[in-house]
């Protein structure tokens, strides 16, 4: 076992342990942090495989984006610091069953096909190649999915703005306090005029 394999096993063990902790801890914020470490482990694995671009994208998207989003939503929930109650034993039993089934399934797949050692050299994809491929209209180009995804994201963004925007007219939820304020104001002014009279 050479140094590279040792590093691989260390990273894998780290990922597995943090992954298990993420689903077993009963504090929701800690769960998010363990998930984060697990995702960082995946990025480390990419670095180990020397696909640095994918590793960096993994960190940007999952760690910097999604986990931060999850943490923000945890902050906005109530009782985020309270330990959740233990799941009932029946649920534990079925969860364990599902895990065992999954393990057996994967074991079966591996034992049937095994890991083949590829004779190919580790591929070298420079960043500019990735960029060219992404925007090429040729045979192997990804311009269509790229544009489709960008349209999807634009749609999501517009949707977010629409949801977040305050609807000034026709929304009873907003209009009512305004009307109440107006009424108080008129009431007040009429009183003063009475006093003046």
């Amino acid at each position: 076992m050479n140094a590279s394999a040792v590093i691989f096993y260390l990273i894998s063990a780290f990922m597995l342990v943090t992954g298990i902790l993420a689903v077993t801890t009963r504090k929701i914020f800690r769960s998010a942090i363990w998930l984060l470490f697990s995702l960082v482990g995946i990025a480390a694995l990419y670095f180990w495989m020397q696909v640095e671009f994918i590793a960096a994208v993994q960190i940007v998207v999952y760690v910097g984006g999604i986990v931060v989003l999850i943490i923000f939503s945890i902050f906005l929930t109530q009782q985020s610091g309270v330990e959740m109650k233990k799941p009932n034993p029946k649920r534990n039993f079925f969860a364990a069953l599902a895990v065992l089934f999954g393990l057996a399934f994967i074991y079966r797949l591996i034992s049937e096909y095994g890991f083949m050692e590829t004779p190919a050299q580790p591929f070298q994809a420079s960043v500019s190649d990735i960029g060219t491929q992404m925007l090429s209209t040729g045979d192997q180009g990804y311009i269509l999915p790229f544009e489709a995804v960008s349209m999807l994201l634009l749609g999501a963004m517009v949707g977010c703005i629409v949801i977040a925007m305050k609807n000034k007219t026709g929304d009873p939820g907003i209009a009512e306090p305004d009307a109440a304020k107006l009424m108080i104001h008129t009431d007040f002014s009429s009183k003063t005029t009475e006093k003046d009279n």
């Binding site: 640095e52 960096a56 994208v57 940007v60 910097g64 931060v68 420079s126 960043v127």
Partner: protein, 358 residues
Amino acid sequence: MFSLEGITNSIQNWLYQTFEPWFALTMECLIVILLAISLFAILGLVLVLMERKVAAHIQIRLGPNRVGPGGMFQTVADTIKLLMKEGLTPDAADKFLFNLAPFVVMIVAMLLLAPIAFAKGFQIWDINIGVLFISAVSSLSVIGILMAGWASNNKYSLLGAMRSGAQIVSYELSAGLSVLSIVVLTGSLRLSDIIASQENGWWLLKGHIPVIISFVIFLIAVTAETNRAPFDMAEAESELTAGFHTEYSGMRFALFFLAEYINIFIVCAIGATLFLGGWMPFHIGHWDGFNHIMDFIPSSIWFMGKTFFLIFLIMWFRWTFPRLRIDQLLELEWKYLLPISLFNLVLVTVMAIMGWHF
């Protein structure tokens, strides 16, 4: 001529000739770790003193001048004081995360050190996605801050952490876009390529106005990302006592403090690398005689000079500008910096395609 490249090469050769490869590699790792940690310690001491002195002179004061000649050992004394202090952990805090957070922040700062070229041939890891690596890893530091804020079980800390999160996530965009303009001009993400592309002049000088705009946006965005005044919403002494590190004391507080200054150094080093040519001496086009004279100044001095100039600029910002409110802060990013930097990126792209830069 003095050069760090020769020293590192001779050390490497000697290690690989006298020992087994694996042992030599381990030794190299240890040397790098030692250098990084001592750099951190020295930077922490120097930058804190520099900040206090710059602040004092800008405010027509003298600053620390009691400990040592001209107050030189003031920060040493402060560090010793912080080391001696008791590190308290609040009772209701999430103890594990509370103790982990300062180290997360510190480790992220250390990771960012890897791709920076300190001098010619003096770089820990010349990774082929250098710039992307930096922007990816620097987004991790927000996790440490969120962790600290939440684990302290204190509403000030939580508010500070939330603000810091919103701030870092949104300012990362314009920082990334301004960095992208240099990447577009260079055509490479590798930091050594970016430095090599500035052999006939720094990008700030040969990139016309669009690069100057992106330089200014970069400076604003990194000031916000390092949570410094005028964008110090995360700490906000007057509103949140100390924000996310309200509950920290002793050495753990010192780690946060140190990480802040290390981050300033790193972002300024990156700014110097991208816009001011890193260790590349001041060259003008094909004036070979002039360029040759400039080469006599060692590259490490060029790098440090540029970096400390940018650090001085950021300190100058801090002690001049009034603080922003949180809504003004987000408005500045989303209504001003982001549209301007997007438009600017288009300009830079046109410039790069037409080859209008020098």
